[in-house]
Amino acid sequence: MTVSATATAEALPLEAPVAEQARAIRDSRPLRLITCGSVDDGKSTLIGRLLWDTKAVKEDQAATLHRDSGKQNDLGLPDFALLLDGLQAEREQGITIDVAYRYFSTDRRSFIVADTPGHEQYTRNMATGASTADLAVLLVDARAGILEQTRRHATIASLMGIRQFVLAVNKIDLTNYDRARFLEIVHDFKEFALTLGVKQITAIPMSALKGENVVYDGRAAMPWYDGPTLVETLEKATTRSNQTVGFRLPVQRVSRPGESFRGYQGTVAGGSVKPGDSVVILPSGMVANVTKIVTFDLVRNAAVAGDAITLVLDRQVDVSRGDMIVAIDSQPMTGRGFDAQIVALQPDRIEPGKRYWLKSGSRRQRVLIEPVSQLDLKTSKWGTAERLGMNAIGKVHLTFDEQAIFDTYEQNRTTGAFILIDPDTNNTVAGGMITGRRSELGGIHKDDQRVLLSLPADLAEKIMASELFASRRQDVDIRHTTVGRAAEILGDLDE
């Protein structure tokens, strides 16, 4: 058998000269992706192929593989699955049992792959891998087509907030490169994806074993396909950023190295901040202004989502770990009741009426969970549920003893995400995503009368700093504007 990929590789060398490569890779942060598919769809082979063709696997690692397996595939390449299944139990059973993280890079970009197991009982691991991913590669065996497990994985990936999908129709060589079969599978998947609201799908026919349309193109075998290879698609994918939403800084720790310095350390979870900005500390509702953004390198004039910073405020305010410093004019939801979707991760079921620990950002608090419904992954329908077993995806009500602070997961993948910890075992039992705040005060809100006040900024700040205001913050809309514009707006109302 000849190897078309090797021939292609010689014809189209992908490596840039070393110096250029080192410079070029780093224009963006690493793309994080997850690979999922049913058992035997060839997932480990695909990742092995990616690592092999991008030269992320070194000779001694390949030699260890040869020694371990004593076998090669029919292309004279190592058994890629062994390369990935690093645990002894996995090698013994020939399956992947846990999320593994892999690293490779091309001349354009670097990648972090969460390699997740295909077996149904490891769906929780898929949710884990999907939580940080920008893109999902869904692997399908061209002979088998879209399976229940494919739909299940697409659903989980979509629930976890992934919006970019690659449908990798693998083993296309075993269908004699049948174009009609490929199109049929793509049609099936797109129809299903519509029900998930997923629109960004790149479908690629490939043979991971032969390396066609993975890193090198498979034109020789599939002249009918003129789309991108997998790697080309990954190079062009976008990474998520929380930069366009309101400023959020979950406070990890207070730095007080001496009397003269007090800074709040954390990673910006949304938006941006600069000296002079007015901020609110939640849940207290105190208001302050940013005076400095301190980092080891220099005092910075701005910080954006993702930056690990130390913030200095212009006044003495009570701030501690777990508080959130946020933009005054774009605040998150606060309250004691929220709605969320969770993925149950452990054999112990999520029980109603049990008090769990909830951790979101740096904030940990007690919460009562009330399961409402569960997603049937076979039918994609929500049915009622009183408790949630391992691998279940459910809608739940959250009730807190104290004020909680969230954005919806849709708006902010950091401040809208949380984990549940079982206080009896200390284990992480669920991952959750906030869908909205529940109105806890019921009848009080039935009167929908509103009052517009136009106040000088300093007076407004004093009012906003009060406890009463903070407790009802979620019911208030605030905009900053000029005296003239305020007068205009109020004038409009008078007419």
Binding site: R26, P30, L84, A100, T128, I419
Partner: protein
């Protein structure tokens, strides 16, 4: 001595340094986040410091994470007594210059029984002088969290390890029952006696480490740079022959050559590579075209397949 790093130092740090590229910046931000989270959640953290390049990066990130304060935990060096002399000199210098608290531990049993890599074989030696020694030191300090510089790209079993890696009271790692780790929300809840190992460099690759050392001008042990050094060939590796305790075996010849080290450990177990890389640029260029992995020069990793997993289960880093 003031606890606050002064403004002058900040200015000095900032001098002539171009901003980090987005790739390294993202890795740096993630590591700082992990450092702060562990320091805030645990009562007695400690940082494992092995003097190598990864430790140097780890230390640099710790200093950044807590600036303008001091690094709020001690460094722990589990010494075997068989490190390169240049490593120890480097360590002592760094500790002094950065005003750090260093705890050094050598397994007293190993020292009393004169356990050496020559007399006990690399596997038993590593078990006693590294794994057992580490457990002793962690128990003695009652540490509930230990930072390590391990990277997931180093070795297959590490690829599966969490950033907060849970350990039982006897320091065991159970790869089958790891806590799920979603987003960047870490579960730091443990019982008395249990602990976590925390790995801020989990998502870094070897090239990232070198590029960061270059970008941030981080001091490293000179053994990483090529130089004419004495060595002997043993078990297919070039072992440095500088320490007086290094006795030649029958048939071995002391040679000299321009060599350097890709990783640093105990000198009798660490193989050098032939290289002319005398600058960071050279090292990075060499790495981009390397055809073997860095652990290839480590005798202890080659004893058997899955040997790292086995050592880790028993409490090794």
């Amino acid at each position: 001595m003031s606890d606050i790093r002064n403004e002058a130092e900040a200015k000095q740090n900032a001098t002539h340094k171009p901003p980090l590229d987005p790739h390294l910046k993202a890795l740096e931000n993630e590591a700082i986040h992990i450092f702060r989270e562990v320091a805030a959640e645990f009562e007695r953290p400690v940082m494992l410091y092995s003097i190598g390049k990864d430790s140097s990066v780890l230390l640099h990130l710790a200093r950044k994470a807590f600036y303008p304060g001091r690094v709020p935990f001690p460094l722990l060096h589990v010494n075997t007594g068989w490190k390169f002399a240049e490593m120890i000199a480097f360590r002592d210098n760094i500790v002094k210059e950065y005003d750090l608290d260093l705890i050094e531990h050598i397994n007293p049993r190993g020292a009393a029984e004169n356990v050496t890599p020559f007399t006990h074989g690399s596997a038993l030696y590593t078990d006693i002088m590294k794994t057992e020694s580490l457990r002793q030191a962690l128990d003695a300090g009652k540490y509930d969290a230990a930072f390590g510089g391990a990277r997931r790209d180093e070795e297959a079993s590490r690829a599966k390890e969490r950033i907060y890696s849970f350990r039982t009271p006897d320091h065991r790692w159970d790869p089958r029952n790891q806590r799920p780790e979603l987003w960047n929300v870490y579960n730091g809840m443990i019982r008395q006696g249990e602990s976590v190992r925390a790995f801020p460099l989990s998502n870094w690759t070897e090239v990232d480490i070198w590029r960061y050392i270059q970008a941030e001008d981080i001091p490293i042990v000179p053994l990483y740079f090529a130089k004419k050094r004495p060595y002997v060939e043993r078990d297919g590796m070039m072992i440095m022959a500088e320490d007086p305790r290094m006795e030649l075996l029958p048939g071995e010849v002391r040679q000299e050559g321009v060599i350097r080290f890709r990783t640093l450990g105990c000198f009798p177990l660490t193989g050098a590579i032939r290289s002319n890389a005398t600058t960071l640029d050279d090292i990075i260029a060499e790495l981009e075209t390397a055809t073997v992995s860095e652990r290839q020069g480590r005798a202890i990793d080659r004893d058997q397949s899955g040997s790292m997993e086995k050592k880790k289960r028993e409490g090794y880093f």
